[in-house]
């Protein structure tokens, strides 16, 4: 169980990450706010609670690794990294600009704290499996977290990677799925149904838990489930049910906000909502 104080800290971190997402996509005039907002609380927990990382030494060989397999949620990752101190928060306003280190999709050689180039869906999870295998082979005890989208589950390479992870007993690999139920062309169930995901992952040899991806007690329980599985010889899957666009009312559950930036007025409304929410968290 996380303390009340820790919970407040993580809620504030989630609110900050959301502000960063809106600011970066607004200044970029493009990007993917919807699927970034749905992942904000998961990233807050990872970067401000779970992962053994130090922004001062982003290449520490013993650090935990994070791979954003749903690379289009780069605004969420960049926001988490900036608030964690990997680079100045002001950089977020340069997302997707010609002179910025913040590419439309993550680049490990340009942005401090990014552990793998991603953007092509399905790519990240198998690279994360390689990292986890590398940890086992080199006798290091770092853990690898890979965040995937539910739409991404239709990529064949996802299941190649899961087979590999189970075969090699990669219990140091934690597969997080941001199940927001929407993708570019509509509802994930309608575009290409992948349900039931829990049974599929279980059949592939994983330990699976399903929790709410916005409630911190739920997120904490899911990660506790992962931690308890160290030594089980099974990769772990955390299925987080989330709301696409979470935190910005007009974006919530709208597939249209998958890959569209807010305009001036939309940005102002979103920031007012996020600021108000953040202020409320402060006084609770």
């Amino acid at each position: 169980m996380i303390s009340r104080e820790e919970k407040k800290k993580l809620k504030l971190a989630g609110a900050d990450i959301r502000k960063g997402i809106m600011t970066s996509t607004y200044y970029a005039h493009s990007g993917h706010p919807g699927g970034s907002l749905s992942a904000a609380d998961i990233l807050a927990y990872l970067y401000f609670h779970e992962m053994h990382i130090d922004p001062a030494s982003p290449q520490d060989p013993d650090r935990d690794r994070f791979v954003l397999s749903k690379g289009h949620a780069a605004p969420a990752l960049y926001s988490a990294l900036a608030y964690k101190g990997y680079f100045p928060k002001e950089d977020l306003t340069t997302l997707r600009h010609i002179d910025s280190h913040l590419q439309g999709h993550p680049n490990m050689n340009l942005t401090p704290g990014v552990d793998m180039c991603t953007g092509s869906l399905g790519q990240g999870l198998s690279a994360a499996a390689g990292m986890a295998k590398g940890a086992k082979m080199t006798g290091r005890d770092f853990r690898v977290f890979a965040l995937c989208g539910d739409g991404e589950m239709t990529e064949g390479i996802i299941w190649e990677a899961v087979l590999f992870a189970a075969h090699y007993k990669l219990d140091n690999l934690c597969i997080l799925v941001d199940v927001n139920g929407l993708q570019i062309d509509g509802r994930t169930k309608d575009v290409m149904n992948t349900d039931p995901l829990d049974q599929k992952f279980e059949a592939f040899g994983c330990r699976v838990i399903s929790r709410n991806g916005h409630e911190l007690e739920d997120i904490d329980e899911a990660f506790e489930f992962f931690r308890k599985g160290q030594g089980s010889g099974k990769p772990c899957v955390l299925l987080f049910s989330t709301v696409k666009g979470k935190g910005v009312a007009y974006m919530e559950n709208e597939a249209g906000w998958h890959g569209k930036a807010p305009n001036d007025i939309q940005y102002k409304i979103a920031m007012m909502e996020l600021e108000a929410h953040r202020a409320a968290l402060e006084v609770i």
Binding site: C117, G119, A129, G134, M137, T138, I157, E160, A161, F164
Partner: protein, 317 residues
């Protein structure tokens, strides 16, 4: 070639990676259910804990190799050229290439000399695919000695390397240890009447053709260009300046391979007549390696005929 010693460069790869593995504990080898064909079974038997069987899933194998490389290991990912460069292209490009990761892709069964398996397994597009990836080094040896030297050079090079080996045996050209350097070609026979620039299994044929024409008083230069990328630009331009024309030959589609690279370089810096021999924008076919090399015009006979045509054109100009 029956009088010469022959060896398939895939066998050389298996031997070289095993030998190198004894010296360097950071080397790991990945396979996609083909270790008996890629000849990495030698490594697998000696270092079972450093061999990673990935099953028939080449895309995943390439990305796993990428992930492994970030933990300080030096992965050699092995499969047939068709699957390593072809099926897994986007993973090679987006994960290994874009990340500029220290992964070596060791592709066996390149070109049509794969033989009886036919077109589905005969990759004649891998040079084109791999050389178009920024920062990728692309190598293809002509014989056993060069193959072993290339495996060592690939290991010592920091960054992604694509190595292409053959299934079919090719003659031993380097009797002594070969000093291969990435970005360097080698002049195997001197002459100024014309220049043949060859790569891989065709180098032996180029030498055979040049030696046969020497008896007719035609002094041809033969260059082995095992480093497809980076090219030995200085050597190629020197050949363009000192020889009347250039013939390139490769076991690859003439689109996108060595010939185009040489032609592009010369057209920008020292235009000279160039004839590109290779697979003429066709798919492969079943047959023996020898039959296929003849059918696709990759033998000494085709080179000799082409030399005569080039001399005819040059004399009338």
């Amino acid at each position: 070639m029956t009088d010469k010693k022959m060896k398939a460069t895939r066998v050389s790869y298996g031997e070289a990676i095993t030998e190198l593995g004894r010296l360097h504990p950071d080397i790991v080898v990945l396979d996609a259910d083909l270790s008996s064909a890629t000849k990495t079974e030698l490594f697998r038997k000696e270092f079972p804990d450093r061999h990673i069987q990935c099953g028939i899933a080449e895309q995943n194998m390439i990305n796993v190799a990428a992930g492994l490389s970030t933990t300080g290991l030096v992965p050699f990912a092995s499969s047939f050229a068709m699957f390593a460069a072809g099926r897994a292209f986007e993973m090679v490009r987006n994960t290994i290439g874009y990340g500029h990761l220290n992964v070596k892709i060791a592709a066996t069964h390149g070109g049509i000399s794969v033989g009886e398996d036919g077109a589905s397994h005969q990759c004649c597009e891998d040079f084109a695919l791999m050389r178009s990836i920024p920062g990728m080094t692309v190598l293809c040896p002509c014989d056993d000695g060069e193959a072993k030297a290339m495996v060592k050079a690939a290991y010592e090079h920091e960054g992604p390397v694509y190595l292409r080996f053959s299934r079919a045996a090719s003659p031993i050209i380097h009797e002594k240890p070969c000093d291969f350097v990435i970005g360097k070609g080698e002049v195997l026979k001197d002459g100024n009447d014309g220049c043949i620039i060859a790569v891989g299994i065709t180098v032996g044929e180029a030498l055979k053709a040049a030696n046969s024409l020497e008896a007719e008083g035609i002094h041809l230069r033969v260059v082995n260009m095992g480093s497809i990328k980076p090219l030995d630009e200085a050597l190629i331009l020197q050949c363009a300046k000192e020889c009347e024309w250039i013939i390139t030959i490769e076991e690859h589609n003439v689109i996108g391979g060595l010939g185009e690279a040489v032609a592009a370089l010369c057209s920008e810096h020292h235009p000279v007549r160039i004839k590109r021999l290779g697979v003429q924008d066709r798919f492969g076919h079943s047959g023996s390696a020898a039959e296929l090399l003849k059918e696709y015009g990759l033998t000494a006979e085709t080179i000799i005929q082409t030399v005569k045509e080039m001399r005819e054109i040059h004399s009338t100009e």
